[in-house]
Amino acid sequence: MGKFLNALFIFCVCCGIVLLSGARAIATPFDLPDLPYSYNALEPHIDAETMQIHHDKHHAAYVNNLNKALEKYPAQQNKTLTELLSNLDQVPEDIRSAVRNNAGGHYNHSLFWTAMSPKGGGQPTGKLAEAINKSFGSFEKFQQAFEAGGASRFGSGWVWLVKVKSGDKPGVLTVTTTPNQDAPLSEGTPILGNDVWEHAYYLKYRNRRPEYLKAWWNVVNWPEISRRFAAAD
């Protein structure tokens, strides 16, 4: 009996290790990143309740649903988010729209939290400021284009500042919008995006999306956006 229990114990420990390491490598290829500040850090521009639900519920659901979609396709699990999103035709058809929506949701929201800061606002400086002036005429004109894009995106989606793929026009910036959780990867590298799904602003701004778009400038983390601009090809 003792021997049997011992054997059972060893068997279980072994299985446990296999399951555990399996779980690490396979079950959750993607994790929800922590918010880089507290829920109320962006008050009064974005309220704590919105931040908590947006991060802990909406973003978390994208991560969970992405992991769930990838469960039966181990080969897809080693890909990065941008690899998945830039080559959706190489994702198995039965999970393609789940990956498009949820990898997109994970990618976009991860970029979103770090694009904001309680010490945000003001204007960009240095090379990014120069590129904005060159591409839009002035920072104010860029803001107008970005707000107009966000206001005109019908339904759920995002408005973006994208560094256009280099080549003949290196360093050129453009404003674009995407529906739902599509990321603008085919156009270049998104360096700044604002979420215009109603869940991003409804508790505080209700139907007044333009008001939210205006207030949002107060929390934009320009040093981080400058880093992204420099890092993009």
Partner: protein, 201 residues
């Protein structure tokens, strides 16, 4: 000829606590009203001004130059249809020929409910879940943003708004809770039966 925002068929607090007066203040008083205003502004002094909303929806569908008109016309129509499809103390089960047809086409009333829930829960982003008659068969469908069955030659019988503004103040991210409440205690089956009868007349 300006299209007018139809009166809400009940008091703004009549659906409490399932849908709050605050939600109706914004959903009807701001969102629906804005679609109507935008629509009127867009068609003013154009040939579309003399058409019914249904005709505008059909003519402007898939016309890239008329996206704004289509969106606002369809949203004006969808919301009116949505308000009429719910009522205080709604829910329960349909009776008569509609109930028979649901059993014939879905297998059971429960199977219809499951399909309708599924359509609402899986419409990614903003949109609508529908019960329609498609060539004489009842079907559950879902559409994105403003899209509407009339544009697809189907006859709408019931709709559920799953834009976040429809439920966010009351249910936040919990869309499935809103959907359950909608099905179990808001649907106005008399209205659905009327639409069903009219489609057969």
């Amino acid at each position: 000829m300006a299209y007018e925002l139809p009166t809400l068929p009940y008091d703004r607090s009549a659906l409490e606590p399932k849908i709050s007066a605050s939600t109706l203040d914004f959903h009807y008083g701001k969102h629906h009203a804005a679609y109507v205003t935008n629509f009127n502004n867009l068609v003013k002094d154009t040939p579309l001004d003399s058409l019914s909303l249904e005709e505008v929806i059909k003519t402007t569908y898939n016309d890239a130059s008329k996206v704004g008109v289509f969106n606002n016309a369809a949203q004006a129509w969808n919301h009116t249809f949505y308000w009429n499809g719910i009522k205080p103390n709604g829910g329960g089960e349909p009776t008569g020929p509609l109930a028979d047809k649901i059993v014939a086409d879905f297998g059971s009333f429960d199977a219809f409910k499951t399909a309708f829930k599924q359509a609402g829960a899986t419409q990614f982003g903003s949109g609508w879940a529908w019960l329609v008659l498609d060539n004489g068969t009842l079907k559950v469908t879902k559409t994105g943003n403003a899209d509407n069955p009339i544009a697809h030659d189907q006859i709408p019988l019931l709709t559920m708004d799953v834009w976040e503004h429809a439920y966010y103040l009351d249910y936040q991210n919990r869309r499935p809770d809103y959907i359950d409440t909608f099905i179990e205690s808001l649907i106005n089956w008399d209205f659905v039966a009327e639409k069903f009868a009219a489609a057969h007349a």
